[in-house]
Amino acid sequence: MKLAFYPGCTLESTAREYLDSTIAVAKAIGIELEEIPDWICCGSTPAHMADELLSISLPAYNLQLARRMDTEGVTVACASCYSRLRAANHAVTTDPEKRAKVGKVLGGDYEGDVPVSHLLEPVGEIIKQPGFESRLKQKLSGLKVASYYGCLLVRPPEITGFDDAEDPRSMDRVVEAVGAEPVDWRFKVECCGAALAFTRPEIVEKLSGQILEDARDSGADIVLVACPLCHSNLDLRQCDIEKFLGVDLEIPVLYFTQLLGLALGISCKELGLHKHTINPVPILRKRGITVKGC
């Protein structure tokens, strides 16, 4: 499977470990990722807050770049970029006036025909193939995992078309595939506060705090995510959350690629497990999981 890869800005900086673990895992399970050359920022939340045409043109520019590549479509690891790329396709395919405007901005028509998936989708295809289990170097049995989907992966469903908007299971299937135990919990699609981290951090501390507390109360050892912004709110800001709530949480937050990588025997360094604020290694080892090279 060969896919054009759109990393997005955060994977190149604060979510470095998501990029590293994505590349390592894709290679190990046979997904060939080719980075879109000279891709630009998708505009994220600020672009649609500022100007609708800008918010469609930026992702459409990237999709036009990807169209020239010989791949089966674009895949994205960041939930926010994913939602913006899907929104651009949706806008130009459903609204001829917008398509005309975007065409003028780009200096060439974009039909909205480049398929966009979230990385969880091609990964989901591979883990359900018969014999996938035999590729695992270890089973992560005994580890209890709360899969957190958040907002932009699943909403709005007419744009993302990802899984079930209220009760998604894609990440839980990754958890099952590596032999770990998915926990049922209430906050899997609640909002972490997203970009309010910059403008109203106390809202993020409250919302992300509720998510972490529910994960803990449901017996989870770790929280699993598929979005760099969710990760930064839940992990990087966890100390602020603890202060805000007046409790100790210490819940490690991993990217789903890191969990998969552990089972595939990829080293701690390559997966960037040492880059989190809350160190996941102690609980992983306590559950009998081998963590190489940390």
């Binding site: 955060t10 900086s13 604060t14 520019y61 003028k104 907002c151 909002c191 910059f198 880059k275």
Partner: protein, 190 residues
């Protein structure tokens, strides 16, 4: 009961406001039947001065000044929970976007001043480098908001872990990209 008489008196409303919001957002605000589901699921509702369903009602009534000066439009996290659950299938988050644009265009006072600063700092960073340079973005944003030390405690650890680039990203063809972004303004004016 001054407030309720104001809200129910249709003639007090600003002519064409509802139509303008519907045209800008592409959403039919008039079909909202006030079930309140949007507000029930909104994670930020607790801190808003108008609940999402109240905002929709005020738009229907054409109460432009109340709508465009509320805190709600700036606190909305664009999480899309409301739009996903609305039984009338109204894209409420897109209505929020349209209201923000209108409030800025018409120079309404902004209750949460950090939000438009966040947006404009992000966009100018993107126009300059093509990709977000986070260190530069956070630095300029903190300068503009006056919260100089916000999140600075996190910087050394992030630098050590290679999560914060000290230099901006470089990509080929920035001239072309800047021109493309400029054309957005031109096409918007047409």
């Amino acid at each position: 009961m001054r407030r309720s008489s104001r809200v129910t008196d249709h003639k007090m409303g600003s002519a064409g406001f509802l139509e303008q919001v519907e045209a800008d957002s592409g959403e039919k605000v008039r079909i909202c039947y006030q079930c309140g589901k949007c507000s029930a699921g909104c994670p930020v509702a607790y801190s808003m001065d108008l609940l999402p369903n109240q905002l929709m009602r005020l738009v229907q009534l054409g109460l432009k000044d109340e709508v465009l000066s509320c805190s709600t439009i700036w606190l909305c996290a664009s999480c899309e929970t409301c739009a996903t659950r609305c039984p009338r299938e109204i894209g409420i988050a897109r209505v929020m976007d349209a209201l923000r644009h209108m409030a800025r265009r018409e120079h309404y006072p902004v209750q949460v001043r950090e939000v438009p600063l966040f947006v404009s700092t992000f966009i100018s960073n993107l126009k300059r480098f093509g990709r977000l340079w986070e260190a530069g973005f956070v630095g300029v944003f903190n300068l503009r908001t006056g919260h100089l030390t916000k999140d600075m405690g996190k910087a050394p650890g992030m630098l050590r872990k290679g999560k914060l680039a000290l230099l901006p990203p470089r990509i080929k063809g920035m001239d072309k990209i800047r021109k493309m972004i400029k054309r957005v303004e031109e096409v918007n004016r047409q």
